[in-house]
């Protein structure tokens, strides 16, 4: 009802379960009467089918998602590991034959075929220079090979989270090159939070009447573009600050910074 999601997690919520690598979580996750079905596990948990045990592999918070009955370990790291379906921001490093090599801040550079743009043909395709910033999605993430990305919309777009399919030349599609603006690196947890609807800091910035564009990659890169560079810097700073502030503090911080920036711009 207009209340941000982030206000709902305080008193009355379930106690936070902290796990370390090696913790045996079998009693917490596997119910004894489950018919030997493997449990639904997300990141950070390992199910040993032969011994029927569930062990934590990372340190963090054990979280249970009731909608999908999934267990996972929430931890906030800065190191990205590519997974198929992730939408990431990549920076073109070089052209290698028919592929571009992008830096997606993972263990290996990602490959982008130079025709992987909407409506691109051999004669009509974008020519990206090193340093170009792209919003793309991961289409292959084998551990043994370099990950591959694409700027094409999956299927008809509806299955791809409502992505827009427009010709690459129009610059109106969801994926493709991001021009102008600036990008910063944030932690992976903050990137995931920014992508949720009703995120506190983006909401607060919008309510202040700022007009801006953001692109958030789950690999921890955030791109911001607005009408004035002062606002771009302000938005980047508020996003980074929001990681260590409670929702109420975030709203206060955004109001204060925007007010200070506006009065400075009027005065100057």
């Amino acid at each position: 009802m207009g209340q941000s999601r982030q206000d709902n997690h305080l008193e009355g919520a379930a106690p936070i379960a902290v796990v370390l690598p090696g913790d045996d979580l079998t009693s917490r996750i596997l119910s004894p009467d489950a018919k030997n079905r493997p449990p639904k596990l997300g990141t950070g948990l390992y199910y040993d089918a032969s011994a029927r045990t569930v062990t934590a592999m990372v340190a963090g918070r054990l979280y249970h998602r009731p909608e999908t009955s999934t267990y996972m370990v929430l931890n906030n790291t800065r190191r990205y590991v590519p997974r198929v379906g992730d939408r990431v921001l990549g920076i073109v490093e070089e052209t290698a034959g028919e592929y571009y090599r992008l830096n997606i801040h993972g263990p290996h550079p990602a490959l982008l075929h130079n025709l992987s743009f909407e409506g691109a043909t051999k004669r009509n395709r974008p020519y990206l220079a090193p340093g170009a910033l792209l919003y793309c999605r991961v289409i292959s993430s084998d551990r043994e090979m370099d990950p591959e990305v694409s700027c094409k919309v999956a299927g008809d777009g509806i299955a791809d989270g409502g992505a827009r399919r427009r010709d690459w030349m129009t610059d109106e599609g969801t994926y493709g090159e991001l021009k102008g603006g600036t990008c910063t690196r944030v932690s992976l947890g903050l990137a995931r939070e920014l992508l949720l609807p009703g995120n506190v800091v983006l909401d607060a910035l919008g309510k202040q009447g700022l007009s801006f564009e953001v692109a958030i990659g789950v690999n921890g890169i955030v791109w911001v573009h607005s009408e004035k560079p002062e606002y771009t810097v302000l938005i980047g700073n508020t996003i980074k600050n929001s990681e260590v502030m409670t929702p109420a503090q975030v709203r206060g911080m955004v109001a204060k910074l925007v007010k200070a920036q506006r009065s400075e711009m009027l005065g100057a």
Partner: protein, 179 residues
């Protein structure tokens, strides 16, 4: 005089090596800490990658190797590297009268006739040893006492690491996560 197992920072040894502060001792300790900690990491999940842990000793007063190993384990946990369990290291010294001291100071490590053992366990107190490094001579019984002491102390150290992770997770739950 090599009494303990931490880096020898005295001026004579510094002048002797080409790179003061990084010599053969440091390389041996790198190997020891690296092997102890790598045994716990699920390396098969990270093919074609290098996991590099850099340990910088700012100030040491005994037990530097086990502090380095514990710090490396904590850094790997913080980075989200998948591990099968948490390695916990403890330093024990055996004094000439047979007594075993845990977590010695540099003075206790360098004392006359003292032998030291660094033991890495998995923190469950089950009696298993992941890696160990000794210096000086000690009886087999003393070594077993060191291992038992390290197992007991390992449980306390693991509880401390859990507390550190809890503090971080609780803070994040208030400020970062909206779930």
């Amino acid at each position: 005089k090599g009494g303990g197992d931490d880096e020898d920072a005295s001026p004579e040894s510094a002048a002797a090596s080409a790179h003061p502060g990084y010599g053969a001792t440091e390389r041996e300790l790198e190997r020891f800490v690296g092997d102890a900690v790598a045994g716990c990491v699920a390396l098969e999940r990270y093919p074609r990658t290098v996991i590099e842990v850099v340990v910088q000793v700012i100030k040491g007063d005994g037990g530097v190797v086990s502090a380095a190993a514990n710090a490396a384990a904590l850094a790997l946990m913080d980075a989200g590297i998948e591990m099968r369990f948490v390695p916990v290291a403890t330093t024990c010294v055996v004094v000439p009268n047979g007594e075993v001291l845990l977590d010695p100071t540099a003075e206790e490590e360098a004392a006359e006739g003292v032998a030291a053992a660094v033991v890495v366990t998995d923190g469950t107190g089950g009696g298993g040893v992941l890696a160990s490094m000794t210096s000086g001579t000690m009886s087999a019984g003393s070594l077993l006492s060191c291992i038992e002491g390290a197992n007991r102390a390992g449980k306390a150290v693991l509880a401390f690491l859990r507390l550190a992770v809890e503090q971080k997770v609780t803070r994040e739950a208030q400020t970062l996560w909206s779930v």
